[in-house]
């Protein structure tokens, strides 16, 4: 493999935003996985399809409408879920299908678009612009700072809502905050892996890391490392062999997952 590719500035942008998104998805995904909300990222991603269609119809930059629609619909579904005591998986199903449905209807009304639906579905990390890279980096910074500042509240309300409430933590507000941050993260990450594979970044590095039997911080660090490894290696390999980055990234993280299972079944990851 030629090292020349590391000198291209589009490659710099791809790697930098890829690493940022890898960190972001691992961190937010860990809270979602532990809340048995693994597919929530997927649902938000699908609802962003409605947002993108809306943006295209209204002649607005589609990523902005995707942010708006995804976050608002995710917050609404969370409200409905709490008020009517609907289970998490059912709420996810509702959100997922309604986003696609809205998108399809809008596409129908406006007589179909000729957008690059392929890049929306599977990501286009090698095409990120300077401005998009700056946006990705700023959002990553802000979300990570919020997570660090509210670390105890986020962890405790994920561990046990009732006990967190008794300890005086505003659990409902924290829940909405997680949904809000998940919405921001998903729409931001669509550029990397696309709608169809988004939940892979949220879930696979985290379930892999959890298998190592460590405490919370170590688990988060392991997950972030797996995620960065898959994204960086995936981008480089896919460019060299001219294959799709999204698929390569996800396959690499599945490889780490499989490897971890292998190590574990051989008893090398003993329980302390």
């Amino acid at each position: 493999m030629s090292l020349e590719i590391l000198t291209f500035s589009f490659m710099h942008r791809a790697l930098i935003s890829g690493v940022a998104i890898a960190i972001l998805c691992s961190v937010i995904g860990l809270f979602l996985v532990l809340r048995r909300y693994s597919l929530f990222g997927d649902a938000i991603a699908h609802s962003s399809f409605g947002g993108i269609a809306l943006g295209l119809m209204a002649g607005v930059y589609p990523l902005w409408t995707a942010y708006g629609v995804s976050i608002v619909s995710a917050l609404i579904i969370t409200k409905i879920k709490e008020k009517y005591d609907i289970s998490g998986d059912a709420a996810i199903a509702v959100l997922l299908s309604s986003g696609i449905a809205v998108g399809l209807v809008i596409v129908g009304i406006s007589g179909g678009f000729t957008i690059d639906i392929f890049s929306f579905l599977f990501g286009s990390i090698l095409l990120v612009s300077v401005n998009e890279t700056i946006l990705i980096l700023s959002l990553t910074g802000i979300i990570l700072i919020v997570v660090l500042l509210l670390y105890r509240q986020l962890l405790y309300s994920t561990f046990n809502e009732e006990q967190a409430k008794v300890s005086g933590i505003p659990v409902e507000k924290i829940n909405y905050l997680i949904v809000f941050m998940a919405g921001l993260t998903v729409v931001t990450s669509i550029q990397l892996v696309g709608v169809l594979l988004i939940s892979a970044l949220f879930v696979i590095p985290n379930v892999t890391a959890i298998m190592y039997g460590k405490g919370f911080k170590t688990t988060a660090i392991l997950s972030i490392s797996f995620s960065i490894f898959s994204v960086v290696t995936g981008i480089l390999i896919s460019y060299v062999f001219d294959i799709t980055p999204a698929g390569t990234i996800v396959l690499l993280s599945i490889g780490l997952f499989g490897g971890t299972m292998g190590i574990k079944s051989m008893g090398l990851l003993s329980k302390n």
Binding site: L34, L155, Y156, E162, K165, V166, G213, G215, N272
Partner: protein
């Protein structure tokens, strides 16, 4: 004496049952109150109302003289150990992580080791919570409840499904907390003998409050003791 808890005419109506009916009692500073009553008597409901988890109650609950509907500040002074702490079996949190969740001020982090030592779980501090036995987990949750130096400890029937050795250790810890550290304790239990040995006050609950007073007064009343040991025995047999 300062009253820690005052409950006046507390009534809780669930859609299908009236779980608590006009319950009134007071807990004073330093009390060790054992609440006994069969399954479904309303013990957990009483605690949920006291802790602000159930808000649709009638009547008044006061902590340290203040109505809990007005301010949640009282929660800072309370340590709570739930009946069954529910969490994901493979949740990536060590014993240390769990106790730290209870910690309000990061500056008090040195308290964690101290408390783990006091509860005989310091050697487990790097183990995941899901890998421990029931008795060990229970001690972790007590440690979490104690880490902020609470004035009041509320424990909901915490010995179900735990081996005798752990129960004995648990009781000696409770006794020490109450007598040496002067922590007020409210504790629900099915075990009349244990209540007799540990508590200095007893409340008999079965939707309504049948008795509330000094422990000696209760255990000298053969009629009441017989009634409650039978009631709890029966319910226990149903349970198993």
């Amino acid at each position: 004496m300062l009253s820690v808890v005052e409950i006046e005419h507390l009534t809780v109506q669930y859609p299908d049952v009236k779980a608590l009916d006009d319950v009134s009692f007071t807990v004073k500073k330093g009390d060790f109150l054992g609440i006994i009553g069969p399954n479904g008597a309303g013990k957990s409901t009483l605690f949920a109302s006291m802790l602000g988890l159930h808000t649709k109650y009638k009547g008044t609950i006061k902590f340290f003289g203040k109505d809990i509907r007005k301010s949640k500040d009282y929660l800072k002074e309370i340590g709570y150990v739930p009946q069954k702490p529910i969490f994901e079996k493979n949740f990536p949190a060590t014993v240390n992580d769990v106790v730290r969740m209870g910690l309000r001020k990061e500056s008090d982090a040195n308290k964690i080791d101290e408390i783990l030592q006091q509860l005989w779980i310091h050697e487990l501090s790097k183990k995941r919570i899901g890998e421990l036995s029931g008795g060990q987990q229970q001690r972790v949750f007590i440690a979490k409840a104690l880490v902020n130096n609470p004035k009041l400890l509320i424990l909901d029937e915490p010995v179900t499904g735990i081996d005798q050795q752990s129960i004995d250790l648990f009781y000696s810890i409770l006794r020490e907390l109450n007598s040496k550290q002067k922590i007020t304790i409210i504790w629900s239990s099915h075990d009349l003998d244990a209540v007799n040995q540990l508590a200095n006050h007893v409340a008999c609950l079965n939707r309504t409050l049948f008795f509330h007073g000094e422990s000696d007064e209760f255990f000298e009343n053969d009629e009441l003791v017989k009634q409650y040991s039978e009631a709890s025995m029966q319910e226990h047999m149903h349970h198993h």
